[in-house]
């Protein structure tokens, strides 16, 4: 028999699991990692193809992914199959749960935006009285952000904004296009900050090339792919976690992996589902509750830069930027709590549906407007509410017989008011910048669609109101940790991946120290 007792069992190989493996193995800790999906072979698994050679001419197989708007015909084989991996929601409140079941998880395909949270998020209750503060503050996490940014090779521009702390990243010295400069000037006149996008760089910026290779190099990490974890197991004598039962995705053979410590980093909702199905870590009764994400209004305003028509010279459009949160920072100024951010980009061609013409006129317009568009997408903070939650749907199981999730999440008037304000502000800024506004709206995508689900195993100092302590350790079982986005108490409007990595690093350092001291 080849099995052994590992120091740490890590469930999940994406941003949180990959980071934990890297941090723990570099401290000499033997880890076993389980991931529900196969490992990707970039040479074998993909091929350059012309769009007309695809069976559906690039439209994708109709109805295959009703909840994954990110899926197109090129990528539809990488998203988790919704029939094999079902979930349910109330009829009138759809939730778009977007999953990738591959080694590396969603870090194979993420948008790479890498922002730090600030004390406006960590101490949110102190600012406006709503919800709970995190049990940590910015300074607790800053040293780990300092490590996570180089790990992901983040590039950005330092601005000195308290709501968007600077970090250890490569300076983006690229020149802003004329359109961006005009937009930035319009924003500055209204006291609204802007900056360059802050993103992980490289052809691939994933757990599979940034975290896992470092961990494997230590010789202290072993990875099992196609391992669908059904249940975390505990020692009946001590109550401590002692491993997990997993099922081979292809053969359905069951295995029991054993370890001294169990680290769950399977993504927010999968980790929560696993804990609920295991019947663990829920003495507080809040496991699964306080689900939130960030709402998105895609193309909240779409414009044309008139001077870019017919491409008279280079440099008029192109590039992108970011409007950090600017509402309700030092004073309550609107009829909503918290705030939103906006991405802006220029240089594309307007969506044909926005142009009020057809036929040769439309084709001529599309030709003349190549590279002349300017658009913004709003991303707003969603308030964590107890009423938004997940639970086990005992009537639905996945392809491996594991009970599925029922997800209840709704946006409220606070988010709607924020979205309306984003639309109006974006329109004013574009108007001031001299752009021609083609269309505006504040129709947010359904909950979940931003793939930023957070909060269902929240941290806290009070074991009656939270699942995890400030080191991501479950209050109930001292050798069971959850290190992904489910641990967030609030999320701000910043994309969460960088914070997930930083939190996972911090938790891993704590685990290593506890193991060294023999406390777990």
């Amino acid at each position: 028999m080849f099995h052994r007792n590992y120091d740490v069992l890590i469930i999940g190989s994406g941003a949180s699991g990959g980071t934990a493996a890297r941090q723990l193995t570099r401290k000499g800790i033997h880890c076993l990692m389980l991931d529900a999906g196969p490992a990707v072979d970039f040479t074998r698994d993909r091929e350059l193809k012309k769009v007309y050679t695809l069976p559906y001419r690039g439209f994708g197989q109709p109805g295959r992914f009703p909840h994954v708007t990110q899926a197109d015909e090129y990528t539809e084989n990488v998203w988790a199959d919704e029939k094999q991996n079902p979930y349910t929601y109330p009829k009138d409140d759809p939730y778009y749960w977007v999953r990738v079941r591959l080694v590396g998880g969603k870090t194979l395909f993420w948008g790479r935006a890498s922002w730090r949270l600030s004390n406006y998020e960590f101490k949110c209750k102190d600012h406006d009285g709503f919800g709970e503060n995190w049990p940590i503050e910015y300074n607790d996490l800053a040293p780990y952000y300092d490590q996570a940014e180089p790990m992901l090779r983040v590039q950005g521009r330092k601005e000195g904004l308290p709501q968007l702390p600077d970090g250890v990243f490569m300076e983006d010295k690229s020149r802003d296009s004329e359109a961006s400069q005009r937009f930035i000037a319009a924003a500055r006149k209204r006291g609204i900050p802007t900056t360059k996008e802050r993103v992980a760089t490289g052809q691939l910026a994933s757990s599979v090339n940034r975290m896992l290779p470092d961990a494997l190099e230590t010789g202290k990490l072993q990875i099992v792919s196609n391992a669908v974890v059904r249940q975390i197991t505990t020692d009946p004598n001590t109550g401590l976690a002692n491993g997990a039962i997993f099922i081979d995705r292809r053969s359905r053979q069951e295995f029991h992996a054993k370890a001294r410590v169990v680290v769950v980093g399977a993504s927010c909702l999968e980790s929560t589902r696993l804990l609920l199905n295991s019947g663990l870590a829920n003495s507080s009764g809040v496991l699964g509750h306080y689900l939130f994400d960030q709402f998105y209004v895609k193309d909240v305003v779409s414009c044309i830069v008139p001077e870019a028509r017919n491409r008279p010279r280079p440099g008029i459009t192109g590039g992108d930027g970011y409007v950090p949160r600017f509402r309700n920072l030092d004073r309550r100024e609107k009829d909503f709590l918290r705030g939103y951010a906006m991405d802006f980009n220029s240089g594309g061609t307007p969506n044909p549906e926005l142009l009020p013409c057809y036929g040769a006129e439309l084709l001529r317009e599309l030709n003349e407007l190549q590279g002349a568009s300017f658009s913004l997408t709003a991303m707003g903070e969603v308030l964590p509410r107890y009423e938004n939650y997940v639970e086990i749907d005992k009537s639905t199981v996945d392809a491996w017989g594991i009970p599925a999730l029922h997800i209840r999440a709704k946006y409220t008037e606070n988010e709607f008011a924020m979205a309306r304000d984003a639309m109006n502000t974006a329109e004013e800024l574009c108007h001031d910048a001299g752009f021609e506004v083609l269309a505006k709206h504040w129709q947010m995508v359904p909950p979940g669609e931003s793939i930023h689900e957070l909060g269902t195993c929240r941290m806290g100092d009070d074991p009656k109101k939270s699942v995890l302590n400030k080191y991501n350790q479950t209050h109930d079982i001292r050798n069971l940790f959850v290190v992904d986005g489910s641990s967030f108490v609030s999320g701000g409007s910043q994309n969460p991946t960088l914070t997930i990595c930083a939190i996972s690093m911090r938790a891993s350092d704590f685990i290593a120290e506890q193991m060294r001291r023999g406390d777990i």
Binding site: G58, P62, Y358, H441
Partner: protein, 208 residues
């Protein structure tokens, strides 16, 4: 030849690994005697695994129409001519077979999309018949323009949802354009341009 003699002669042949031919000295000997080279036991290439060239179905055959009836398909084809005509040396919806492709695509779609198209095409024909006494496929460009007036109104996100006919027109405009510019004839045409459109991307196969 007796069976035993045959087996003995076969046993005497040197064994060959896959892909090997007879030793060079035998063919050289044949050549030295002025004889044509004899056949090799395993001809070159016999153990290779060639890729057999194939061509796509739509280059050889017409798509079978299975979703729209004759009048609906004719209306969709005419709508394609009006909305996405051949322009600037590039093929339009007709040359791209966009209507026939949409018959397949829409027919493969959830029921609400099929209903949107069928009722929209029926309404287009009804209005054409009512106003011009002919089906949509037979009316002039000017008459078609009068029926397609909603597509010349300024875009509004809320408008399409208020009216099924407008929702159909907007969907058809987008789908016919996409089915055209993603077609083989269109991409072959633009690939001749100075800055050809990049119509390729990485297709992910199912990962086992």
């Amino acid at each position: 030849m007796k069976r035993r003699t045959l087996l003995r002669s076969i046993a005497a042949i040197p064994s060959l690994a896959a892909g090997q031919t007879l030793p060079q000295r035998e063919t050289t000997a044949a050549r030295d005697k002025g004889l044509p080279a004899g056949p090799t036991l395993i001809p070159p290439g016999v153990n290779e695994t060639p890729t057999i060239p194939v061509i796509p179905a739509d280059e050889t055959s017409d798509s079978r129409i299975r979703t729209f009836d004759g009048q609906q398909l004719a209306a969709l084809a005419r709508l394609g001519e009006v909305l996405v005509p051949a322009w600037d040396g590039k093929p339009g919806a007709a040359e791209a077979g966009a209507a026939e492709f949409l018959d397949f695509l829409v027919g493969s779609s959830p029921a609400n999309r099929i209903e949107l198209y069928k009722s929209g095409l029926d309404e287009l024909n009804r209005r054409a018949q009512q106003q011009f006494g002919k089906p949509f496929a037979a009316i002039s460009q000017a008459d078609a323009d009068s029926l397609l007036a909603p597509l010349r109104e300024k875009w509004s996100y809320g408008r399409a949802a208020k009216n099924d006919f407008e929702a159909f027109l907007l969907a058809a405009k987008g789908d016919l354009l996409r089915a055209t510019v993603n077609s083989r004839p269109y991409i072959n045409a633009v690939s001749q341009e100075r800055r050809p459109r990049n119509a390729s991307n990485f297709f992910w196969y199912p990962i086992s």
